[in-house]
């Protein structure tokens, strides 16, 4: 298969990668760019573990071919913290036990970021609706919902 070279802005850094057309964005993030925080849970767009932000919108990295994204600006979980300082959403997930095995966590953090960027003060129903495309098998979502509410308070108070 003919490979093509594309340019991606990932977490504010411009990267150039040569990819086979059949490689998904998840493959390229994980294997070409060594950003293994993007997890692949189902490879058919249901579980949401591979969620990243494309121009601020959550998308499934397993359902996109990397070559579709030439020139795109992406945020992955590795782009959330500010150096040693965790992002308020990460802090809130830590403080409220919003994760157990940590596999779905990157996708949920990014989905939560997209939600709070658009709606800084969501109620419980809005939170559950917003994360309903991200499966978590460990937590029963209870503490994840609390984490996102706490993050909302943290962000609006700072």
């Amino acid at each position: 298969m003919t490979s093509r070279t594309i340019r991606l802005d990932v977490n504010g850094v411009s990267r150039s990668v040569t990819v086979e057309p059949r490689r998904t964005l998840a493959d390229v993030l994980r294997e070409e760019l060594a950003l293994t925080g993007t997890h692949v849970g189902c490879e058919h767009g249901v579980c949401g573990a591979c969620t990243v932000l494309w121009n601020g919108e959550p998308v499934r990295a397993c359902l996109l071919f990397a070559i579709q994204l030439d020139g795109a600006s992406l945020t992955t979980v590795e782009g959330l913290a500010d150096g040693e300082r965790l992002h308020p959403i990460q802090e809130a997930f830590w403080a409220t036990h919003g994760l157990q095995c940590g596999f779905c966590t990157p996708g949920l953090l990014l989905t939560a970021k997209a939600l709070l960027d658009e709606n800084p003060n969501p109620d419980e129903t809005e939170i559950r609706e917003a994360i309903s495309g991200n499966l978590c098998r460990c937590t029963g979502y209870h503490f994840i919902v609390q984490a996102i509410r706490a993050a909302s308070r943290l962000r609006t108070s700072t």
Binding site: H44, A81, L86, Q100, F103, C104, L135, R137, G140
Partner: protein, 780 residues
């Protein structure tokens, strides 16, 4: 031991790496020169392999090797089986158990969809998968059996013809005289309940990476497993190497739930490929493979007879139980006997008899999954109790009040063995207190008052109760090793694997308290066979109790060594030396305090003199537990049923539970929530469905419905604490409990909601179609 950390809601120490996306799951392990494996799997439920032609595949770009059974014949041995019957159990129950060889690469016959026919190794996963599609297999389909009850009958097609039957585990068992008790009952309820096939479905699939080092003949393998020492044992046989030449490392696990505690073909095949090709090899299961070939679970049929007096006093119980084991009897008596040992639960029943058949079918093999027989048996029992209550006109809460074993009746001796062969004796707890706590938290009485008004408005709401008593923390032991480095910092290693339960935090809490050091001095690793020679693994709600007590024992021994060394250093009697906050000091003389690092350093010999003590600040422990310890809970679910569509909305969920002494209450609560979520999945959504020919119908997460955030309500948890007398830390197991009662509680709530219609839910999941059908049946 001071309790500075034990019992505290400490923030989890493993979280920052997960929050930053810096965990290391098996797919994140990469090695120079890595090759990738892909598997060709049977598309048939039952078929003979006439021939395999890999000529085309071998010639494809990037392909390094293709292996069928004959190509690795020199290495092929039957896969390990689990669940040997312990002597104490074999003496009490006459089991008829059959096993058949399961090969990592199918030898001549595939017995379920997904069984491996060939392995391809190539320079990329995509090329390995391309080549797997180019292997030509001449399959000869054979008659398949898919229904467990039909499979048990004479004349059914046979999964393993050499047995002349499909019954792989058969036994009868009883206590007291059930038939006499039933004959003396005013009412005998008889009903058949069916629990579907549903599974752990960890969000991370399985995966194996293997590295063969020719230099010293060692094999290192990273495996997304809950049981690294079991994987090691399997490889000892397969690779013909001593255990110390095989290192199994469980990296970060993206969930396990039992699915990753079974033995699998790929555990052996990927290391074999690395050994034979002398190249590192990786295989990451895709979701489709996971659904067709990773262990399935549940799937039972109970025909239960429950006898009672008119006042609701339950007198006796008889149950005819079928379990669908899938194509191979991998787990022996484990699931069948677990089912029996948990049937009675919190009820005061002295007369019981069971007739049990574990049946093989042409489906994916079953293995224990969070609850392991308990959700099924509790569904049958608690549904039967509710049906009985309704027949007698007694409220479901009232019939439980009347029949739950009281705390003053503990210890309660069943007069039969538990699954580990030791006597089944409830050790501690208060089941009626859990019942009242759960009813209170759920607002049971208020709901009952409100229910008729709601019904009059066309709102069909119901409330359902289920309780269980669970044997947890099965032994015999877990391995732990504790050692100090030159600065007094602590490394704790255990055979227990962390798959999200917070081991790195909870076990550090135990070690820090026992040693007298700050929490952040402790590093915990789990599931590395090089760090602990003998281990068991994480399953059966066992790690907290078994590893926790082993870590405490080992840390206590190390503390003794520190005290002895510090006594010499401080020129004091050992009895006068205390350790706290990482310092040793003479009691009453805080000015004497020396850092533990100094104590270690003073023990190292110098050119001038020997150390103050041998510089041996490490210890291993393998704490033996006498038998399981009994955790218990009562769950209450509130639902609203849409009569038009059959859709069930879960409104509230309450859990009142006892897991003994708690290391970290936040982690405990999270475990309860997660268990409940999986139980709700089983109650309402999840099913691994097959057609009558054994073809899997649910191959994606679009077909197999894992609950999402909108499917679950907030979960209220009431913590009760009745310490276990069976281990020094007073703990009980916790991981599975949440998953046990939701199917029964929710089905009871649906029945309650629709009681004026006479609906009876006898089968899960209670999908809209099934609920509508039940309404239709009741109307007819």
């Amino acid at each position: 031991m001071g309790a500075k950390y034990f019992g505290a809601a400490v923030r989890r120490r493993e979280d920052p790496r997960f929050l930053r996306g810096e965990g290391r799951f098996v797919d994140d392990v990469t090695l120079p020169g890595l090759l990738h494996a892909a598997f060709l799997r049977s598309p048939h439920a039952h078929a003979r392999v006439r021939s395999i032609d890999a000529t085309r595949a071998r010639g494809m770009p990037g392909v390094v090797a293709v292996f069928a059974h004959a190509d690795l014949g020199r290495w092929m041995k039957p896969l390990p089986v689990f669940g040997a019957t312990p002597p104490g159990l074999a003496a009490a129950v006459r089991f008829d158990v059959r096993h058949a060889a399961q090969w990592a690469l199918c030898k001549d016959v595939a017995r379920h969809v997904g069984e491996i026919a060939a392995m391809v190794v190539a320079d990329s996963r995509a090329r390995a998968e391309d080549a797997a599609e180019a292997i030509d297999v001449a399959w000869e389909p054979l008659p398949a059996v898919a229904d467990m009850v039909a499979a048990s009958e004479p004349g059914a097609a046979l999964v393993h013809p050499e047995w002349s039957t499909n019954v792989a585990v058969g036994f009868t068992h009883g206590i007291g005289d059930a038939e006499r008790a039933l004959a003396g009952a005013d009412v005998v309820l008889e009903e058949t309940f069916r629990i579907q096939r549903y599974v752990g479905m960890p969000l991370e699939t399985r995966g194996v990476v293997a590295l063969w080092d020719r230099r010293d003949g060692t094999l290192t393998t990273w495996n997304s497993t809950q049981v690294s020492h079991f994987v090691q044992q399997g490889l000892v046989g397969a690779l013909e190497l001593p255990p110390h030449k095989i290192r199994v490392i469980a990296p970060d696990l993206g969930g396990g739930f039992g699915t990753k505690a079974s033995g699998y073909p790929e555990d052996v095949l990927v290391p074999l490929a690395a050994r034979v090709l002398n190249r590192p090899v990786k295989w990451i299961e895709d979701r489709r493979e996971h659904m067709m070939a990773a262990a399935h679970a549940r799937h039972q049929t109970h025909t239960i007879r429950l006898g009672a007096r008119r006042d609701g006093t339950i007198l006796g119980l008889a149950d005819r139980i079928f379990l669908d084991l899938g194509a191979y009897n991998v787990w022996g008596i484990v699931l069948p006997y677990n089912t029996v040992a948990h049937l009675i639960g919190p009820y005061r029943i002295r007369d019981m008899k069971v007739d049990v058949k574990g049946v093989v079918t042409n489906k994916t093999p079953n293995a224990p999954y969070r609850g392991a027989g308990r959700p099924e048996t509790v569904f049958a029992m608690d549904r039967a109790v509710d049906c009985l209550a309704r027949r007698l006109g007694i409220d479901p809460a009232e019939i439980r009040r009347k029949n739950y074993i009281r705390p003053d009746e503990l210890p309660w001796d069943f007069g039969m063995p538990y699954r580990d062969g030791n006597p089944l004796v409830y050790d501690s707890g208060d089941f009626p207190a859990a019942l009242e706590a759960a009813l209170d938290a759920a607002g049971y009485d208020a709901f009952r008052r409100e229910q008729p008004t709601l019904r009059a408005r066309g709102v069909w709401r119901g409330i359902g109760i289920s309780g269980y008593v669970e044997g947890t923390a099965i032994g015999p032991f877990e391995g732990a090793h504790v050692k100090l480095d030159l600065t007094g910092r602590v490394q704790v290693a255990t055979g227990a694997v962390n798959s999200g339960q917070g081991h790195e935090t909870a076990f550090a809490q135990v070690a820090a308290d026992t040693l007298g050091v700050p929490l952040d001095w402790v590093t915990v690793t789990g599931g590395d066979t090089a760090a602990v020679p003998f281990g068991v693994g994480t399953f059966a709600s066992r790690s907290g109790v078994t590893a926790g007590n082993s870590i405490a024992d080992a840390a206590r021994e190390v503390r003794g060594k520190l005290v002895a060394a510090a006594a010499t250093l401080l020129e004091a009697a050992p009895d006068d030396v205390e350790i706290d906050d990482g310092k040793a000091f003479v009691r009453g003389a805080p000015g004497s305090a020396v850092d533990l690092g100094k104590v270690v350093q003073a023990s190292i010999p110098t050119f001038a003199k020997p150390g103050v003590a041998p510089p041996d600040f490490e210890a291993s422990a393998y704490h033996h537990v006498p038998t399981v310890t009994y955790a218990s809970a009562v769950h209450v679910a509130q639902v609203e049923v849409d009569r038009g569509t059959g859709y069930v909305r879960l409104l509230r969920y309450v859990v009142a539970h006892d897991c003994g002494k708690v290391i970290n209450p936040t982690i405990v609560e999270g475990q309860v929530h997660g268990g409940v979520a999986q139980g709700v999945g089983g109650a309402l959504f999840e099913e691994m469905a097959y057609d009558s020919e054994g073809q899997l119908l649910t191959g994606t997460l679009m077909d197999y419905l894992v609950p999402s955030a909108t499917d679950l309500p907030p979960i209220d948890t009431v913590h009760l604490e009745y310490p276990s007398p069976r281990n020094p830390l007073g703990m009980k197991g916790l991981g599975e409990g949440g998953a046990i009662s939701p199917p029964a509680a929710i089905a009871n709530a649906i029945d309650d909601a629709l009681s004026p219609l006479g609906v009876r839910i006898t089968e899960t999941p209670a999908s809209p179609a099934r609920v509508l059908a039940s309404i239709e049946t009741a109307r007819a």
